[in-house]
Each structure stands twice: as C-alpha cells, then as structure tokens.
C-alpha cells in the first residue's frame, strides 16, 4: 500500500547501501529529486540500472555512489557524452565502476520480463553486434517451434525503482502520461516502487479509461515533489530544460567544478528547491 511520505523518508525507508536500483524515465519524468535525496543521504555501493544514465546517473556516479551501471545509452541526449561516467570508466575516478551494456531493445524487454515475473527476455536482436562478445549476460536460445536463434537477456528485478509521475490520487494510485517510457514495467519489476509526483488530486474519476495508472497496491511510497523531474520535464506541467542539459556539458567536464556544483545545488538544498527551478520554464 502506498504511504505518503516526505522525500527524505521515502528514500531512507526504501533504498539501502548495496541495493540494485532503477531511477527510470525515458527522457521524460526522470526522478531527479529522488536521486538528489539519495545523494544527500550518501547511500552507496549501488548497482544502477537505467536505459539512458543521463545527467541523473552522471551525478550519482560522479559522487561515488555507484559500483556498477547497467545501461544502453550513456550520452547526454542531443548534447554529447556523460563526462563523469566517462571519467569513472576511463580513469576510475572517483571510483572504478563495473558496466553491463545492452541495447535499448534488450533493456526495455528486460524490464518487461521483470514485470511479468519471467526469468528472461527473448527477442530478435544483437545480430552481428559486438556487445554480445563483451556482455556475458547476452546469450541466445533456440525457438522450440521454428528453430530460430533468438537473443536472451536476464530479466531486470531491481530492489527498488524510483519514478516521477504527474499525479497521485488521495488513495495513492499514480497516473503517468505523455512519453511513458519503461516506468510501468520498471515499477512492476521492482520489489519496492517509490514515486514522486507533481501533485495529489482527490481521485481520477471521469478521466480516459485507458490511462497509464499504477494502482496504490503496487507502490510502497509516494512523495509530493513539484518540479521533481527537473531538468527533465513533466508533460502538462513544465517543459524539458534543454539549456540545463547544454550547461551540464560544461559543469561535468571539470572535477572541481562538478564538486562545487553538487555542493551548491544538491547537498546544500532540499527537495523544495525543485518547484522554483521549473517556475521560469512554465
């Protein structure tokens, strides 16, 4: 059953050192506020799963919280490279990280398999691709009906998944709309799902019957954090802060500049700051 908690308590009660955790959101609805709370609490030794590590994992990796990253596209979308993640991979700074690299197709279907309670995802993929040579989790199975060789990857089963969504109802049901990405699958694949939302409304009566909704009994905790996806966006609330993504390229390029930025913008502030960050974007 979903409990309405402060962001501090929602993170403290659900994320433990050494956990396998997914902070999901495919460009849209990236749970930045939740990740910043994890950084403030210094919860480390994490295995981070995310299709696109993006700025959110660049920050967690740069702060030394990750021991392993499972991913499929480690870029700053539309801008370039993830410089903190590169520094960890190329130079072991601030610590070496293990990487497990997939394609988007594999990652999305591994979440789907996790949500389905299956041990693996089976699909037509990785043909001729070198990733299969460097990731021992990429294997193949033979179709028992046609004999076709298909790719197989293990299901994602995170200890915790964090997502951001538009609305929760008073009962703790969660509504997601727009680019819905893999959030439903990532939440249902996890042992514990924690959701930050823009707002709480009394109920979802009268809305479209096919909306993407996670029932309250699939969620452990909900924290209300307006603006909590920034610099990602929340469809219907505020747009993507593309300028912030461009700026991150400079901030993340230098170790000291990064450390100072994290001190000022993450460690020294609380989740309430997110509402003011999106105010100018609306």
């Amino acid at each position: 059953m979903a409990a309405f908690l402060s962001l501090h308590d929602a993170v403290a009660e659900n994320l433990r050192p050494g956990d396998t955790v997914a902070f999901e959101g495919f460009t849209h609805l990236i749970p930045h506020a939740a990740a910043h709370e994890a950084i403030r609490q210094g919860i480390g030794d994490l295995t981070l799963i995310r299709m696109t590590p993006d700025i959110v994992y660049d920050q967690m990796i740069g702060m030394g919280l990750a021991k392993k990253v499972v991913f499929s596209y480690a870029g700053n979308p539309g801008v370039g490279l993830l410089r903190r993640m590169r520094d960890a991979i190329e130079n072991g700074y601030p610590r070496a990280i293990e990487t497990v690299e997939h394609s988007h197709s594999a990652m999305a279907q591994a979440y789907e398999a996790g949500a389905s309670g299956l041990p693996l995802a089976v699909f037509r993929g990785y043909k001729g691709a070198d990733l299969a040579k460097v990731n021992p989790d990429i294997r193949s199975v033979t179709c028992p009906f046609t004999g076709e060789q298909l790719a197989a990857v293990p299901a994602h089963r995170p200890d915790v998944t964090f997502i951001h969504a538009q609305k929760a109802s008073a009962a703790g049901d969660v509504l997601i709309e727009g680019i819905i990405g893999v959030q439903k699958e990532a939440a249902l694949a996890a042992k514990r799902a924690v959701v930050t939302v823009e707002e709480v409304v009394p109920d979802f009566k009268g809305l479209h019957p096919n909306l993407c909704i996670l029932p309250h009994w699939t969620i452990r905790a909900i924290a209300v954090v307006p603006g909590g996806a920034h610099p990602s966006y929340t469809h219907g609330y505020y747009p993507r802060d593309n300028a912030a993504y461009l700026e991150w390229d400079k901030v993340s390029a230098d170790r000291d500049l990064f450390a100072a930025w994290m001190q000022d913008n993450v460690l020294a502030v609380g989740p309430e700051i997110f509402a003011s960050r999106v105010e100018a974007l609306k």
């Binding site: 495919f26 460009t27 849209h28 299709m51 696109t52 991913f71 499929s72 596209y73 480690a74 870029g75 979308p77 539309g78 801008v79 490279l81 993830l82 993640m85 590169r86 991979i89 190329e90 690299e101 394609s103 988007h104 197709s105 999305a108 279907q109 979440y111 789907e112 699909f123 037509r124 993929g125 990785y126 043909k127 001729g128 691709a129 070198d130 990733l131 460097v134 076709e148 060789q149 727009g178 680019i179 819905i180 990405g181 893999v182 439903k184 699958e185 993407c212 966006y233 469809h235 747009p239 993507r240 802060d241 593309n242 300028a243 912030a244 993504y245 461009l246 100018a280 974007l281």
Partner: protein, 257 residues
C-alpha cells in the same frame, strides 16, 4: 541557389531520399533534421517514429533529445518503449532506419560505443541505444555523417550496429532478413553499396566537390560508380525550410529569461 554549406547540402540530399509513404525510425542529430525537412517539403505524409515511443510525430522545432515533449504533443500516438521495440520495430513495421555514426567502415558497419579497446577505452562514446536492433529490423538503413578520416575508417573499433559485415552476403549468413545500409549521405557525396561486394561507392558528388576532397576525408580507398552524377544543389524551398527549422530550434533551446 549557390550559397549553401556542405552540412546543408548533406541534410537536404538526405531529406530527398525519403518518400511520402515511408515509415522512418529517426536517429537524433543529422537524421532528425533530414527527416523533418522531408516532412516539411516533398513528403508531408511521411511517418516519423522516435524511439521514445512517438509514432507519426510532426515537431515544429527539432528535438534536442529523442524524448522532447514536442514529439509526444504532435504525435499520432505515443506507446511505451517496450511496445515500440517489440510490436513496431521487431514486428517489421518500419521501412527505413535513419542513423548517424561516430565511426563507419566501407560496408556500413557503425561504431558509436568506444574508440580503442572496450575494456580500456581511449574514448567512451554513448553506446548503441536503439541502433543495434534498428540496424537489423528496419527494412533498410540510411546513414548520414560528415566526412573525416577519423570517422570514415578502414576498420571500426567496435561493431555497435551491423551493416554488411565483411561484405557480400554476410547479413544473410547471420540470418538477418532485412536489406541493411542502402544509402550513405555525407557532406561531400551520395554513396550506395555495390550490388555484389556491398562496399559503399560514390554515385553522386555534391556541387563543387572533387574526387580528391572525398578521398582526403575518407580512410579507405574510395571507389566510384561507373556513371557519376552531380547532386542537384538545394532549391530555395529546401534551403529556406532547413534554415527556418534550425532558427526555430536554436531559439527554442535557449534558456528562457
């Protein structure tokens, strides 16, 4: 129209390759610009699909990321990412995949993963994203990139996305049923695979481009088709459409004050 840059010629030549009834999986960057110029000029009916799940999108400005809100707001439908990769891509419903590349070889194999050794890379690039399966599941693949010796190389460091492998029937030998790379558009030329060897050969030079310019910026010995065309220069409509799109995009991505 004579005053245009090589990059503009590249984007416009790529746009011309797309047809009104194509269903196109769009990579970010140069492919995205080309696909939207096509949509705004000769191919208004084209279906553009981005891997964030947006089907039939018609953005007014070019998205910075594959998941900008504009893509969803202007799309016919937005599906989940697992559905995108299963029903639409793996299901064989997408005719063209349009990709960029960090490194490309003469058989259309693409590297966007690492420069150097995978375990100890000289440069860690973003990786494949959707490309490994786009390259093998779309009906055919168009590639666009700016020519440079470090990007058009004899041997790529990592096979992120499989093109024609070692050439010939390598795709069929791996059980891949789609055509693979059928077109390469650079800032200097249009290239198509040789029907037998599958090696990219130049079929058309852009206006003002010489064979020497093509060779200087390519890491393998360039081959030319028996009859070599000159790419028609951009029309006023094509160039105006591209420049308007880029101006709108630049304005939209600046910080609002």
């Amino acid at each position: 129209m004579s005053d245009f840059t090589p990059n503009e010629m590249m984007t416009i030549a790529a746009a011309r390759a797309l047809k009104n009834d194509d269903v196109c999986f769009v990579g970010i960057g140069a492919p995205s610009a080309a696909c939207n110029v096509a949509r705004l000029t000769h191919a208004p009916g084209i279906t553009l699909i981005y891997e964030s799940g947006t089907i039939g999108t018609a953005p007014d400005v070019l998205p910075l990321s594959i998941g900008d809100g504009e893509l969803c707001e202007t799309a016919l439908s937005t599906v989940s990412v697992p559905e995108m990769f299963r029903y639409w891509l793996m299901g064989g419903r997408i005719s063209i995949g349009f990709l960029g590349a960090a490194q490309l070889d003469r058989f259309g194999n693409i590297n966007t993963t690492v420069i150097g050794d995978y375990a100890h890379p000289k440069v860690r690039l973003p990786g494949g994203g959707g490309a490994p399966e786009i390259a093998t599941s779309c009906g055919e693949i168009f590639i666009t990139l700016k020519q440079a010796p470090r990007s058009m190389v004899k041997k790529i460091d990592f096979f992120t996305s499989f093109g024609h492998g070692e050439g010939g029937d390598h795709r069929q030998r791996l059980g891949i049923r789609t055509k693979g790379p059928t077109l390469l558009i650079t800032d200097l030329a249009v290239w198509r695979p040789d029907p037998e060897t599958r090696e990219f050969t130049v079929t058309s030079l852009h206006p003002g481009v010489t064979r020497e310019m093509v060779q200087e910026t390519c890491g393998w010995p360039v081959r030319y088709a028996a009859s070599l065309d000159e790419t028609p220069p951009p029309t006023g409509l094509e160039l105006g459409t591209l420049r308007d799109l880029q101006a709108r995009t630049a304005a939209a991505h600046q910080r609002k004050t």
